[in-house]
Symmetry: D2
Subunit: 326 residues, 4 copies
């Protein structure tokens, strides 16, 4: 059983995944996609960045899109509970031999930038400027009615290493895939906030961001987005779905932004706050784990992702042969 | 049994209800309501009128809103099959002692304006300018996603007279309410186009328009409109619903435009093309006919309506006592 | 322009597509599929046949499933307006050199069995036993909440021949596909009842039934059916979808019954009663006509269909090369 | 500001609201309502009790219905994180002068029964027998597709006392109503699990349970339940809704079980895990807090509730006049 035991007393208190920081090559194109099409709301547009939030969010942003020469995932942002947690985190990373240092980020408080053992870039913060809550300003609803950021999904060159590390930080595994002989962990979904996940890892060339997900209220919102994208010039940006994952039971759609960053629109979820909730195991040979309804994903979905700037990627440490239903 | 037999060979061929012509006192206010809020699309705005259509419609307009000093229902517009039908209709009305004459209406062909025996003002036409079909231009969808005009509902001072007249014109009754002794017809729903109705009549001070209905795809669109109206200054314009009618099985919401004209947002329906489809009878004492779920309608819903300009209204010819669940 | 002009005065009055008669090899398996899974309601089960209806239907059946040694499509059933129409139809077919004769069918009145020029087997009737209307017996709703039979779709070895024949019978074309040079009609959707179609034809080995469709209220009912089928042993029966057709704008799912007969679950539609409604043309090279969202259909969907018993099939008469996005 | 500060280190760790224990007078009637109609699944039926769970729940039960002579709310059940929490809780209640003792409950581990300062009866447990997870056994879905227990709502004779007590236990207030002068707390919504609430309090004769809520996926499931209840003998059990609360933004329906216990079907919610999430204040004079769309609640909704057995109720300690929109 490759899933580590629950840690009820992590070294510091990560509350949830809170923002994604992406490098995009064209701010106007990005705004048309994220704001006018998906329906995120632009809180602030600076000369070099756009900050957007979803409809229930009061934080200044859950999407920070920065002008860049090449498309990158700059950081995965996590909220911690208290300012003291940042101090503890600084020590914990550095004592563990992992780089971590404080950086300045606009519109948010002191921010610790660090890397996990596989090289993924993380940012931890405790305070952020607040913005109007739009949940009951229904006149502003557009697109897919995105309600909040839900999770990150990453390619990991060694899923076991990733899971062990985040388990130490108090992330609990809710679902996972392994080989039939139980010797190799293939993918895992881990949470802090009481849903299926804040972060997930899949074997692959990494570290890279596979996708960031927005939670949306119903499948009908996702279907409407399909109709909108297919008839407003975004047909080629629709990569996979809509469909139902076996894992997480999510109703999903995967789309690609103008730079190729992958966004999941994610409807439904379940509550995972019970500390002894048994992780659900899926066999690597069960194709319904990927798509409950049987439709295979395209090859791009298994292969393409967003790199962290300056972080080298490597092939996964696999003993088993990949079993992927293209 | 007060429902007349089916007429398979009407004097002329009415295809369907096709437009409503309303007098409104403030064109800007009307456009904010019908276009920005409900989601109809403005085809043309002239100095004195706005013409709108719903998303699947290719006709230039299904809503003609004309600047007026007082709010009125100017006409109920019906499409006929051929130009020849207009000629036959002219004779039929005039031979029957009912006023009818040809009038000019912008953006549509020759138009016959007539009155039914209770004084309701009708317009018949065969040709209309065509506009872009927006059904697959999903980027233009807003509001409640109104797909087409569905029906008119009128207060009639004598429902039996109304039903007999429209039955002669080939309208078939799909559902009706009468007194338990079967001696008095209270309300009736009649169609030409193969749905529950193109026009309905209820006992009341008339002739007046009770409401015009827009067909919308799902109940979720209606619920979203409730949320939008309740938070954009239109709370007082939400009169009744959402709910389910027993009669017609429609999921409904009734709203009032800035002049008080009543609009129904109407989801679901059923097919009624079989010529021997038995009309469904509802007892006047069965309150589920009005609201399947039991919630009563407000008094305004039973009492208020839009007058036809220059047409006197009168009390209904009732033998039975009204049984209305306020 | 290969679409024939509208016939407002057809030789006899076909009201709508009304039932499908299928040969199935295992009545128990068929009942589990159509009744327990899709949610059709069994009106009568005889030793050799099951008769089912959808939720709004008052006719005894829209699906007649008869025990057979091999899976076949026995007939496409159409309702006509009056008994006199059957007499006229008998003469019209026979005078036109097409076989047609009266047959006995349980639970329905006098029935004329005929073949169209390509050999498809048709049955025309005017009266059928009536059954309880279940539309407001919500406690009986199951599965996909199928509300009514909507249309037949057939492989035709010569679509132009099919369209010309049905146009003579008063069917109007609402949408069609042809080659870019306009010389060859590839597929056509034709109606009598005021929706997108009662019957459609696609080039292919025929005559064969491609599918019969059930109209369902919303996309969410279709998504729920996907979830149910994928987890109750019917995963391999899910052939295509859910998705959106460009043609007809339908939200669709295609499933196969235990004998391989194809059923479409079909949500949304639009009104087509205006006699001068312009048919919508789609280019054979526009893949969005098949799937607005871009996902290709599997090969089986283009190749497999249900034969009519004793009717030979032949290759289509094609000048152009097939352009099929598998 | 009557809302107490956040307690990040409560005396013991309450994870979430987990079950309701109700006394019902007729087990068969209760099972028809909760299981056959709402769609909860019966895990076990004993001679004197029925235990049911919702579709995502793996705990043996979230609804325990026990045969009783009169309808009562026997207990509000809360999950704690560890067995040690139960020991700490025992001491904490007893040291605080509140009754608390261990009791035996079938199908669950050691259970601490206690009373809060207003007399509400609470049960705390850490372990429960596990049952099959039905979330992906879609063939078992029925009724409203209830996914999990969401919250309790209670009449409190002194809301300030209730809020202070539960704040000490680590419950955070997400929304509240007070008088315009800010001197009197009228109602409050408090959570542990990261949603709008695990428990809420409203001024009223108490302590009594106002309702227990089930989370359901979409508004369409709620609408379908309305249709089912209205046509299967449960019309009189539909008390309020469907509608949208201003507070919590929930889409709601309130129904009454055969004993009069009130159940809320509750769709939508928002994430509340950030420890500094500002509580949303509603004015007692803002009627949209109760119903965003304006429809008033019936008098019964403000007055009727379920008593705890043997616990005396008293009038609320109010300085302000009640402002209730009947």
């Amino acid at each position: 059983m490759p899933i580590p035991p629950i840690t009820l007393t992590p070294p510091f208190n990560v509350v949830r995944c809170a923002y994604i920081d992406l490098g995009v090559t064209d701010l106007d194109a990005a705004q048309d996609f994220y704001d006018s099409t998906l329906g995120l709301v632009t809180t602030t547009r600076d000369p070099d960045a756009i900050y957007l939030r979803a409809l229930e969010e009061r934080n200044h942003h859950s999407f920070a899109l920065r002008k860049a020469d090449v498309a990158t995932c700059n950081a995965l942002g996590f909220r911690v509970a208290t300012p003291g947690d940042l101090e503890v985190a600084y020590d914990w990373f550095n004592n563990g031999g992992l780089d971590a240092d404080f950086v300045e980020r606009p519109y948010q408080g002191r921010t610790l930038r660090a890397q996990d053992p596989n090289g993924s870039v993380l940012e931890f913060f405790c305070k952020m400027d607040q913005a109007d809550r739009l949940l009951q300003k229904y006149g502003t609803y557009r697109g897919v009615h995105p309600q909040r950021i839900d999770h990150f999904n990453c390619f990991s060159p060694n899923v076991q290493t990733s899971v062990d590390f985040y388990a130490d930080l108090g992330f609990r595994t809710t679902e996972y895939t392994d080989t039939d002989d139980g010797t190799e962990l293939w993918a895992a979904w881990m949470h802090r906030k009481g849903t299926v996940h804040d972060i997930a890892f899949t074997n692959g060339v990494g570290p890279r961001l596979h996708h960031v997900a927005l939670w949306v209220p119903t499948a009908l919102n996702v279907i409407h987005l399909c109709d909108v994208m297919a008839t407003t010039g975004y047909l080629a940006h629709m990569e996979r779905g809509p469909g139902r994952h076996g894992i997480s039971n999510a109703f999903f759609l995967y789309v690609r932004d103008p730079d190729g960053h992958r966004i999941e629109l994610y409807a439904s979820d379940y509550l995972t706050v019970d500390p002894d909730l048994e992780p659900i195991r899926w066999s690597l040979t069960d194709t319904q784990r990927q798509t409950l309804w049987g439709t295979p994903a395209p090859r791009s979905w298994f292969e393409e992702g967003s790199v962290f700037p300056g972080v080298a990627v490597r092939d996964p440490d696999l003993k088993a042969e990949p079993v992927i239903a293209h």
